[in-house]
Symmetry: C3
Subunit: 138 residues, 3 copies
Amino acid sequence: VSDDLRYVLDLEALRALVQRYARAADARDYDAMAELFHPDAEIDGLWGASPLDEYLDRLRTTPAAYDQSMHTLGDPLVELEPGADVASLDTYAVVYQLASREDGSNATMGMRYFDEVERRDGRWRIRRRRTEMRWVTK
Amino acid sequence: VSDDLRYVLDLEALRALVQRYARAADARDYDAMAELFHPDAEIDGLWGASPLDEYLDRLRTTPAAYDQSMHTLGDPLVELEPGADVASLDTYAVVYQLASREDGSNATMGMRYFDEVERRDGRWRIRRRRTEMRWVTK
Amino acid sequence: VSDDLRYVLDLEALRALVQRYARAADARDYDAMAELFHPDAEIDGLWGASPLDEYLDRLRTTPAAYDQSMHTLGDPLVELEPGADVASLDTYAVVYQLASREDGSNATMGMRYFDEVERRDGRWRIRRRRTEMRWVTK
């Protein structure tokens, strides 16, 4: 496989990686979510920075404020040198949170995901994610 | 063309297929829509499952409840073995329905399209679509 | 590089081009925005048709009505003959305008970007953009 072909194959793998994240998050399937990160990954999100395990534990044990979510993602803007094993992704997301159990309201959030990804053993996963909440409407 | 190159060419063709669907739906161009499905396709949507012809007839003869629509799609998550002639697509969509003739209100729907697609005579089309409405806000 | 491989590399470059536009617009970085167009480009937008320089000057000198924006884009539908140096893009966009300084309200716009792009000196840029506002909700 040439470097050029490897490059487009890698872009497709990275695009699928963030789409899989959306589906795991919306299904609240935290085992599927864990598969998308390297075990030593760090997530810097709404709760500050934490290692992957802590982050997932917190998701698993925190009662969901909303009945369901839908993570709609734009195409990631990818910085990748052809042939490299690391890349940076910048993904726009609009996250719909729906039908709160507590007060019946909805929330829509404008997010931006900044991911550092790495290929290990032939497989791309996230090693660091920083999320930025740009706006929220209720 | 190698299997790897065929794979990325197929992903691009499938991506364009769902984008063409959005444009045909928003233009209410049901002939253009028909071109995206195999003649024996089945659509399992808001009205239950029906063959393509019945589904299109119903679209053609039902007065539109809204003046215009905009089908915004996320990138499809595609399951495709390199070289295969069948694939599965899972596409997130936010559908805006605007300016109702009846009551002036708008509706926004969170949808998910599950497509089984097949290449026949070198051309990818949908042979089965199942749609899932996840939420609607008015 | 074969024509088929060139084709998918070009699609990736064009996809990144429109994603870079979203980021430049949201950062109000008009120098970064200028880099995405050929110097002789024309933009036919909300203010009518104008050359790139006039358009950018107007953006630079017009006080922003909103505090921030988020341009979320669907995947562009690309018309490109393998090996060609020109292409047409049709991109759906939902543009969120937020936290108006004037009246505190938000606006969401359904847009469609029609871009004619050209490769010069090995680099794709926009030579003509026509924007269509399909709807706006406040």
